[in-house]
Amino acid sequence: MVESVRGAMRLVCPDEDALALGLNAGMALADARAQEPGLAVFEADPHADQDWLERLCDGCARYTPIAALDGPAGLMLDIGGCAHLWGGEAPLASAVTDRLVRHGMRARHALAGTAEAAHALARYPAAPAPDEDAAIRRLPVEALGLEAESALALRRAGLRHIGDVAARPAAALAARFGKESVDALHRLLGLADRPLRPRRAIAAIMVERRFAEPMGSTAHALAVLAKMAVEAGDQLSERAQGGRRFEAIFFRSDGLAFPLRVETSQPIREPAAIMRLFEERVDSLSDPLDPGFGFDMLRLSVPRSEPLAPSQLALEGGKVPPQDDVAALVDRLSVRAGRHRIQRLTPRDSHIPEQAQLALPAVESRAPASWHRPGDPEDPPLRPLHLFDPPQRIEAIAQVPDGPPHRFRWRRTLHEVTRFEGPERIAPEWWRAADGALEGHGRTRDYYRVEDARGRRYWIFRHGLYGGETVRPDWYLHGLFA
């Protein structure tokens, strides 16, 4: 693996054979080639690595809900309370490593009382020791995870192993090597604890199904999911809650996991409604859900829920209120097209036209904002129906540089201005400029409402005050009126 570091190609991740030949990480590629002409070189792709690691981490959620990424090449699983399900810690650890090895990974594992200790034990080879504490004390000082300089300083002070450092008084260590060294030491020795940050927060409601035999068909998996949705719906109604977000994870027998998430604009708990959204989601996947050698576990969780009063069952001929109808449509379209594609407009308090509104996803349900109509009710619309963001550059001709436009050319068409109103002067937000500077915060715009000979109405502006801010003001078209 090579990576370009400051203009030079350097080795990043030599494999064992390369290490045996005397090549090491950080070496220039040219030097390595000189030493070993037949070197097989690949470009490093940290993003793909990260992506793969995240997928592995999702897959490890089958062992414990608390699975976290650990650095660029590590996974951290909190197996407290889970190990007995796999017949103890060692069988669990070997199950995890076996699964990783099947993917062509090389994995080393360690079990320890704290996350830091496990991290260090997995990375630094230590001599066999009777117990965990002794093993940690035999680790080199680099295992503290301090900066290279601090580790070097510790070594120069004659402290080679964690045990040596631990024997010193903490105050002296803190005075000489900084407080971090003491913190790191305490965490390593299990005197202080830092909680793991799992990749996924643990949901309050979680339904799981494990299968004795992997299930090879997506349709069957969805049928099981429907049963789990009923169970989750029951749990939600016991708590008088409804889910706003649902997550279904399909664990494949080869260790990968496919998470599917759906979101709703109103809390729901009807299994049919939940399943409709999941089916929509499955249909909208760009590459379909691939069972591979089969799914061996399904998990349905409700990461976000909100209070939802118990509802009376619809009696015969009972009708769904129309708002629910629209909310269901919004959810379905949002799941199918993407949540940012169904939007609602919200006003924003700004006089800069393009900042006066926000388009927010409609699934983030809020009370519809109240808009006020600008200007006098008798006036024609002073703001356009369509707004271009960014504004479109036009060529305009005015009789005088700071006068109204006479004609303008937009998209290769010449428009004669027959009627106009303006200018409406909109100044930039000078109060936001740093230390009251008058320059560098944009220019004043002079807006005109114009109508061309065929009756089309446009909103155009001159950017910059003639003479003051610019000598040749540019013209832009900002909107179209109805």
Partner: protein, 273 residues
């Protein structure tokens, strides 16, 4: 005579049985407020039907405005049912994004509007069909741009049936394309018209030229010029024409040259006073 009449009557009965929709005289109408147009259509446009609006690429602003205003009229005045506006990504690029303050100025509450932007035409039509099936919506407006290959008679018939079943009015805006055969109730050509000028020769209220291109039951080919009156929330007769300027009391020529000070509510409104 009776030989040929009875199969004909039988056929009629069969067709009536096949036509699952409500009979035409059952559907209700929403009036536009423009006297001539409403009388010609026999009371206004039908609710729960598909209406097509065709406009040229450069008239997209007027077309969308007309479709929105009709969507607003299709829901009852005190109704808060949301209006759904479905469009394509390309529409935002070519014709700009819907702007809340402008909608409010036309008398359409932007809080009621749901906006859907789809990636391709198939998705747009599918979403449109799903939306038209949802009776909680006030009206659905589907904006197609350019050549609409997928919008054929079948797709249009599907929309029409869904609209009849749910009672949701669908407005199909076809921008810059050649409209094909369709099952829509009416088809209109929309273009912007010169507005009746205000004092100081300022552009006035939005005016539209509407041509009835097609109608399922009744004569077509008529032409009207309408003006939107935001205060009353209806269309009206165009107040421009020869005497248009004289209707407004304050008469005066536009000042040439720069105008500097601007009142807060109206840009340079008093310049002509």
């Amino acid at each position: 005579m009776s030989d040929s009449a009875s199969p004909l009557a039988a056929l009629r009965r069969t067709i009536a049985a096949l036509d699952r929709g409500k009979p035409r005289w059952d559907s209700d109408f929403f009036c536009t407020g423009h006297g001539g147009l409403d009388t010609a259509l026999g009371g206004g446009l039908a609710r729960g039907r598909v209406h097509e609006l065709v406009c040229a690429e450069e008239e997209a602003g007027a077309g969308a405005g007309m479709a929105l205003l009709l969507a607003r009229l299709a829901t009852r005045a005190d109704d808060v049912a949301p209006l759904l506006w479905l469009r394509l990504d390309a529409a935002s690029r070519q014709g700009g994004a819907p702007y809340g303050p402008g909608l409010a100025a036309l008398g359409i509450d932007p809080g009621r509007l749901l906006l859907g932007t789809m990636t391709d035409e198939a998705m747009l039509l599918q979403a449109g069909l799903d939306a038209v099936r949802c009776p909680g919506l006030g009206a659905v407006m589907i904006e197609c741009r350019g050549r609409h290959r997928l919008l054929d008679l079948t797709a249009s018939r599907r929309l029409a049936l869904a609209a009849e079943a749910s009672g949701v009015t669908a407005l199909l805006l076809l921008v810059g394309g050649v409209p094909g055969p369709s099952a829509a109730e009416t088809r209109w050509q929309v273009a912007a018209a010169p507005s009746a000028p205000l004092a100081g020769d300022a552009p006035g209220h939005g005016a539209f030229d509407l041509t009835l291109l097609r109608r399922r039951a009744g004569p077509d080919g008529m032409r009207w010029r309408l003006e939107w009156r935001a205060t009353e929330g209806v269309f009206g007769e165009w107040s421009g024409g020869q005497g248009g300027q004289q209707q407004h009391g304050r008469e005066g020529a536009a000042l040439s040259g720069a105008v500097v000070s601007i009142p807060a509510a109206r840009p340079a409104a008093d310049r002509a006073a």
